[in-house]
């Protein structure tokens, strides 16, 4: 049993950093698969077509929506880091962090509407 305090996690900015890290990890795992699928077209479009038809299922489309969300939120989280490190400090970052999450959710939602 440890004396460690665990409550200081959960602030908006800590969560922003954690989501940024986890979304990056998820994307790093997803990307080789993504590249592999695209590489199926190496011998012509037939295999890629087969995959595209397989991916027409609702569950896959939902997962793709999730990936769009991850990509957007990782981008916005990264922008947070680039701004903190390279520009003058401004308060109000918590609101921006909330905004970033909202924008990502909206982008994901629009994607899902278009593919379903």
């Amino acid at each position: 049993m440890s004396a460690a305090g665990t409550k200081h996690r959960g602030s908006a900015l800590w969560l922003a950093a954690m989501i940024h890290r986890l979304s990056g990890l998820a994307l790093a795992i997803f990307l080789p698969i993504h590249f592999f699928v695209l590489g199926l077209s190496f011998h012509g479009g037939a295999k890629l077509d087969a995959f595209l038809r397989w991916s027409d299922q609702p569950l896959v489309k939902f997962a793709e929506g999730g990936l769009v969300f991850l990509l957007t939120i990782h981008l916005l989280g990264g922008l947070r880091v680039l701004v903190i490190e390279n520009f003058d400090w401004h308060d109000g970052q918590k609101r921006l962090a909330m905004l970033a999450a909202t924008v990502s959710a909206i982008v994901c939602f629009v994607f899902l509407v278009r593919v379903f």
Binding site: L31, L38, S41, F42, G45
Partner: protein, 109 residues
Amino acid sequence: MSVRLYLWQRATAALMVPFVLIHIAVIFYATRQQMTAADILSRTHGSAAWASFYGAFVAAVSIHASIGVRNILTEWSALADRAAGWCAILLGIVLALLGFHAVISLVLM
């Protein structure tokens, strides 16, 4: 993380900001048009523009993801720094190989 890795990480991040925005636009366009493989290939085949854009994207993401994963491994896993570095390099190579293979498939084949 050393200064050198830090700068590569941040530089590839900054480079990919416009790349990702363009890529999201491409995704939206392709899904809206419900493109088949033939549709996609007819657009990408022989295109120097696609090759340059996605080639650069693959290079940047291979570096960026590799350094990012290295950070996660050194902080969250029991691996020593050097082992974590090698795992990260491995990931970078896998991404680069698969990525360039994909770009070649779409542009040259």
